[in-house]
């Protein structure tokens, strides 16, 4: 059986869990692992790292896994492990929260440096009245013209489907280039 994976990343509260939940055939598993450094043990505090995990089964011999990245910057090292072998990634942005745009761009650049795989940017929460338009977000986040920036409502399955499809089309295109 072949498994392939895609990574759903973005700042805290961008809608990663929602995005994966809307399309996953299993309940999104939040694998919670308690991490604590010696220093933290001394301070008697534990930090929980939750990682979202969803699945789409194509048939007996092909399964797609969707991994959501934990939001906190401190766990960057987990991102790199997640990025390994991914087919592509989605950067989720909360279009209503400009205070997270800088962080979103920084996460995008970090992932881009991990792997030369295709990616799309999902301008999430477009159903919200305070959402910035995709055109404005492209300028605000400085997304190059060749990169897809897609309107998204993570609560809506059709919207999630179209974001994943656009990513898959981009992946196909890079394969055509090489042929």
């Amino acid at each position: 059986m072949q498994t392939v994976k895609m990574v759903i990343t973005g700042p805290f509260s961008a809608g990663k869990t929602q995005f994966i939940s809307s399309i996953s055939e299993i309940d999104v598993v939040s694998t919670e692992s308690k991490l604590s450094s010696d220093a933290e043990k001394k301070e008697k505090e534990n930090t929980t790292v939750a990682m979202d995990f969803g699945r789409i089964t194509v048939d007996e011999d092909l399964v797609l896994y969707l991994f959501g990245t934990p939001g906190q910057r401190r766990f960057d090292f987990m991102w790199e492990i997640l990025a390994e072998g991914m087919l592509g990634f989605v950067v989720m942005v909360d279009s209503t929260k400009p205070e997270t745009f800088r962080e979103a761009k920084s996460i995008l650049e970090t992932f881009r440096a991990y792997a030369p795989t295709p990616y799309v940017v999902a301008a999430n929460k477009q159903d919200h009245p305070d959402a910035w338009s995709t055109d404005d977000l492209r300028i605000a986040l400085r997304i190059e013209e060749g990169v897809k920036l897609l309107p998204c409502v993570a609560k809506d399955k059709e919207s999630v489907k179209s974001v994943l499809l656009e990513l898959l089309y981009s992946i196909l295109e890079t394969m055509d280039d090489k042929a």
Partner: protein, 299 residues
């Protein structure tokens, strides 16, 4: 859709860049920052929530050009503007205010020009200076809530003077005092610069300083910003300020240095020279991707 935010997250310069590139028409309102005393979590850190207080300034744009601006406490009517610019004495201003109470600025301008009080240039220059004074004052704000509304036009009774935003952005970046803004914006001096697609068009009518021209003359994807600074004997802050202004004005773009694809790692976390394992590209065939596409379409 209105654009809402706070200047601490998205600066005046960035807003002007957005309006310029998107050729927007509408009005930007900046509110006083009202500290709420309530904490909010942003990107995993606590900070104090800021609520919009009273209106502080209004700036209007048409097709990506600045056309009018007013600020609380700075009268924007023509008589005050001409008075402040020294084109009307206090006494003249007082008399005109009394006599022309309900006259629009445009009508008043015609009257004053016809009566040889002032020239048309006096009017345009004074209004332009007023608008620029407001906008430069706004550029030193760094936390206030803002809101941009499309289709919200400025007071039609006022005189509107179209001003290109590129020069405003560059001049504004010369005045930035907060080093932090420059640092946040340009985290990696190992990036290179290149010109946008139609540089001739973009540079038309731009007033650059000698230092800015020196940087421009080194723009080439082969030169990192750090190298340009070194060649010109500039400090990090100097080069950051100049590149910030040029970039926000759309005159240069940041790129990975040529021949170093992947090596620049823009914005990657501060782990510096720590070696990374090269990430394997997945060995996936086209047929697999097509099967995924069919599956997702069918969900």
């Amino acid at each position: 859709m209105p654009i809402k935010g706070e200047l601490r997250d998205f600066s005046t310069t960035q807003i002007l860049n957005l309006i310029n590139l998107a050729k927007k028409s509408g009005t930007l309102t900046i509110f006083n920052a009202q500290k709420s005393g309530v904490k909010e979590k942003v990107n995993g850190k606590d900070r104090e929530r800021i609520d919009p207080g009273a209106e502080r300034a209004k700036v209007s744009f048409k097709a990506g050009k600045l056309i009018y601006a007013t600020m609380q406490g700075q009268e924007g009517n023509l008589v005050s503007v001409l008075n402040k610019a020294g084109k009307l004495t206090d006494e003249q201003a007082r008399i005109i205010r009394e006599r022309a109470k309900n006259t629009s600025d445009k009508a008043l301008a015609l009257l004053l020009i016809n009566a040889n009080y002032v020239s048309q240039n006096d009017v345009l220059n004074s209004v332009q200076q007023h608008i620029l004074n407001v906008i430069y004052a706004l550029m030193s704000l760094n936390e206030e809530p803002f809101r941009f509304e499309d289709d919200l036009a400025p007071d039609p009774n006022r005189i509107h003077v179209p001003i290109d935003l590129e020069n405003v952005i560059i001049e504004g970046s010369r005045r930035i005092k907060e080093i932090e803004e420059l640092n946040q914006h340009l985290p990696n001096l190992d990036m290179a610069l290149r010109f946008p697609e139609n540089p001739k068009e973009k540079f038309k009518g731009i007033h650059l300083s000698v230092e800015e021209w020196r940087v421009v003359s080194f723009v080439n994807p082969k030169n990192t910003i750090r190298q340009i600074a070194k060649a010109n004997n500039m400090s990090e802050i100097e080069i950051r300020r100049i590149v910030y202004g040029l970039e926000q004005a759309g005159l240069v773009e940041l790129v990975k240095p040529a021949g170093m694809e992947g090596a620049g790692k823009p914005g990657s976390p501060q782990q510096g020279n720590q070696q990374r394992r090269p990430v394997q590209k997945p060995q996936v065939q086209k047929v697999v991707v097509n099967r995924l596409i069919d599956k997702i379409r069918s969900i």
